[in-house]
Symmetry: C2
Subunit: 304 residues, 2 copies
């Protein structure tokens, strides 16, 4: 099953209580592609970079089955750059620098070979770009997952509402769910957001796990308690990539299978945070994943 | 199996975004006793009140098998009073008034009939009182659970460390775990606290659930996502009472059975927050509990 991932490929400079990493490779599409690559080997990546991006990183992605035909390289351009500093609690962070660079003019054109992708992961970009990608598809995809952020709720609400109405699975964090719905209760927020169009809603709560809602059901996937979280950057993207990669691998979009997808997503998120940037998520093995899933079972399963 | 509960029986005035309740019945021992009464009918309560406490409330507790021989009534005294106001997020609250009243001189003397209790719930009181209760027991109990708070970590650390070393299950919230251990990571905090003596540690995270640790295992019990949380007061006490009530009912203190106990505790907590004070926790039925446990199973169980 083919998986299309649209998002950023970028450089990040990240400071956490455990150290600092300068100009490491980041970006939502990059993280999502790595996480998904453990489940499917037909990933169509859509993004934009400058000619400052290391070829070795692109080769590494390609070696994992990530198609780069839709990755636009701008000659003489600089890749998107973000610099941030995490607070001691690791849940909050300050953005110090956001240089959009080539991302400022990103207007993705899907290669023909991408247009029949079945699973679509729309990383956090402007809602107009997300809509444009969906409108370029030749066939109705099996599952469209959309990530967004508070900025678009604030400044592009109409476009965002249209994008949300076109997706099957919306993924946002708890504060964004409250902003988007105007409801404080997460349950009431979820009910309201499901009326906006998506069949499923995933509310991410960082170290406190994630909730999956549809009209009739709610499922909670815990986050793995870890000895140390070195760098939370990319956790949400790896969660989404792992989830949708698992969906694409299994081809089963029932609520019960989505539960499993959430656990696999939570597992991929639990790896990426163990080191700065993509250092850990690149080095995961199938044995690591199997072992981590067993830890999730021990963490959350009981008999009554 | 007999369950001894030591803690407060009190009046609370509570303001939340959903309303205000004046002088409702509260207190850790009162909440714990109600929650436990759905599992065992031999509960030995130890607390202190003034003669201002309504007889009907005492009759109600007694009708559920709660022994009140250890409840000291001070003639002409006033019961402990707490007034608080919850923030919009319901996780934070400001204490407006704390009138210790008769609690200021509380020095519990265990009735002889209590001294062979097998399960002990030491609600949040001064560590010296908690130690004194344990020292009055005639036989070594099967399981001692101790609740505490940031105040005692701050001002009575030596006594608290002694009390902790005498308990089997310590229950504290995530911020208190960080204070007590000096570790930010919850996993590292838990490892350090287990070295202080308790075999088990329960870290409560309010609406984000609770974690149970021993040396080798960790289990996560989610909180039930609710349409509305009307009043969080008593949630931790009902969690503890439900947990230890289930332990006492089953008589099985294995880690696997503690998992079930945590789920029953989370269920009792999910009831009490549905209304002010003890209004809801008094009216729970066995059918309600069964239905709520099924919701917990649906919420958190998956197959891989």
């Amino acid at each position: 099953m083919s998986l299309l991932i649209v998002g950023t490929v970028a450089f990040d400079t990240i400071a956490t209580p455990f150290g600092k990493a300068d100009m490491v490779v980041g970006g939502s599409a990059q993280y999502g592609a790595y996480a998904a690559s453990y489940f499917v080997n037909s990933i169509n990546l859509v993004s934009i970079i400058g000619d400052d991006f290391p070829q070795s990183e692109l080769d590494e992605l390609r070696s994992r089955g990530v198609q780069l035909e839709g990755l636009k390289v701008v000659d003489g351009g600089k890749s998107f750059f973000w610099e941030g500093k995490y607070h001691d609690n690791m849940n909050d962070r300050d953005t110090l620098i956001t240089d959009l660079n080539v991302l400022a003019d990103f207007d993705p054109v899907l290669p023909d070979s991408y247009k029949n992708s079945e699973y679509i992961l729309l990383g956090n970009l402007t809602p107009d770009i997300q809509i444009s990608v969906l409108e370029q598809l030749d066939v109705k995809p099996k599952l469209v997952m959309l990530d967004t952020m508070n900025l678009w709720i604030d400044i592009a609400r109409d476009s965002l509402m249209k994008a949300i109405s076109m997706c099957d699975v919306l993924t946002i964090n708890d504060e964004e769910a409250r902003m988007l719905s105007g409801e404080h209760s997460i349950v009431q927020a979820a009910a309201k957001i499901l009326e906006f169009g998506p069949r499923y809603l995933i509310i991410k709560k960082g170290e406190h796990g994630a909730l999956l809602f549809d009209q009739d059901n709610v499922f909670f996937a815990p986050a793995m308690p870890l000895d140390r979280v070195t760098d939370p950057t990319g956790a949400g993207d790896c969660f989404a990539g792992g989830f949708l990669g698992y969906m694409a691998k299994t081809g089963d979009i029932s609520f019960d299978n989505m539960k499993r997808g959430l656990i696999y997503g939570a597992a991929m998120a639990s790896f990426v945070v163990e080191d700065f940037g993509n250092h850990r998520i690149k080095r995961v093995t199938q044995a690591d994943i199997k072992e981590r899933i067993i830890r999730f079972i021990k963490l959350s399963q009981f008999t009554i």
